[in-house]
Structures are given as structure tokens and as C-alpha cells.
Symmetry: C2
Subunit: 131 residues, 2 copies
């Protein structure tokens, strides 16, 4: 796997990042590597996309967790949660494109911190239908 | 990134795989590596999950494609399509769990071929709500 770009965000570290995208995550920019820019053709403002990231600050040895960090909840396998701590810390974020400017894609509410590597972008089937 | 398991399916190669999961994809099994089994706790029949795979047969040099292999459609960047051919060929499959038996998770309609490496399992936010 390779990094295809990076998240630029006002979120500086994990303690600031909301746990879910509907919890006041800020707008952010995806700055893509120049060589993959042709793969953006067809992405337009208003599109719903699945942004896949590599959550580089995660603990990859974690196999179970208390959901949402709440110790009163029963210990749960990480595959049944959205915890970033998991064997392969791939972040999956459904966001809306607000602008495409060269190699920069602006999106609304994204809960990934500044500097998070980007690994893929796909159309959201919920929002766009099949292409 | 590491493989956490493998898809076992009647689909032997890409020519047999439907392009979208609603097109008669067969049931399949996800056979997880023993060491990650604790991460399955909480996954139950009926759960909708996002299964992330590594589409190992894909062409990683492809940046644009005719959607759905239809040459009459305009050439489109792969990030605006669900083509498996893309810089990081991560497959994203929303499927329903039908059984969990030790390290084996049975799912309904999955369009990945037999032997596809599995990289992550997450609850589908559309189906389960937030955990």
C-alpha cells in the first residue's frame, strides 16, 4: 500500500478529533500526490465520497475496546466498533466534496487529524448510485 | 498493512465476479487468522458490516477507466468509480453477517473472488448505528 495524499485539517491530534463524523468535525482538505491527479476526473462538488485513510496514530495491537472509550460499556472486539485502534487502522469517512482545485479536494466534516495519510477515494454508493 | 484473513468463495476469478454486490454475488466465508479472533467479539448474525479487502488481482497503475467496462461511457478517474483497478486496490463491501463460527464469518452476497486477502471489518453505520 502507498500513501496517495494527506489530510490537511485544523485537528492537530487525536484528543481533538470527534469520535464520529456527525459530531462537529471541521472541514478539511485532501492534498493528493501529483501523480494520481488524473484519478480525480469526475469528482465534483456535492459528490458524496468514501475517503479511506491510514490512521497512523492508532495502536495496531488492540483487539478489544470499550466502545467510544466509555468504561461502562462491555469490552467489545474492535471489528464490531469504529475504534481507530485495530490491526489495520484504515479510516473510512463518508464526506461531501465542497470543491476540487487541482490536486486539492475540499470536504465537509472530517474527523481525521492533520497529516493523516490518504489511501483511496471512492464514490459513496448511498449518495451517488452506481457508476 | 497486513492480511487478517482470506475470502473463501465459489467465485474463482475476476471474470465471474459481478461488478456490484446487488448483482447476484454469492454467499462467502471470511476465514480470519487465529490471532485476530478476539476482535470479532460482538459481531452477530444479522449485523451489516463493511468488509475491507485487498483486491490482489487489480492493476494498480490504472488512473482512469470507462465505468463498468462500458466503452460508450466517458473516461473517468478511478476515484469517481468503484473499479478495482486503482493505486490502492482496497475493496469496500457492505454485507450482512449470516453466521459466526469460531474464526469464520459467513456473509451474504460478496463480489470478491476466492483467495482475496481481508484487511478490516467495521460495523456499517447505515445498518447498526454508532457503537
Amino acid at each position: 500500500m502507498r500513501s496517495i495524499g494527506v489530510v490537511r485539517s485544523l485537528l492537530a491530534d487525536r484528543s481533538e478529533a470527534p469520535r464520529q463524523p456527525d459530531e462537529d468535525a471541521p472541514a478539511a482538505e485532501i492534498v493528493l500526490d501529483d501523480d494520481v491527479c488524473p484519478a480525480l476526473v469526475g469528482i465534483e462538488p456535492g459528490d458524496r465520497i468514501e475517503l479511506l485513510t491510514w490512521l497512523h496514530l492508532a495502536d495496531r495491537s488492540t483487539l478489544s475496546t470499550h466502545p467510544r472509550g466509555d468504561a461502562s460499556r462491555p469490552l467489545t472486539g474492535v471489528f464490531a466498533t469504529r475504534s481507530p485502534d485495530r490491526p489495520n487502522p484504515v479510516g473510512l469517512h463518508t464526506v461531501t466534496v465542497t470543491a476540487v482545485l487541482g490536486n486539492v479536494v475540499r470536504v465537509d466534516g472530517l474527523e481525521a487529524v492533520d497529516g493523516t495519510p490518504v489511501i483511496d477515494i471512492k464514490p459513496s454508493l448511498g449518495g451517488l448510485g452506481l457508476r
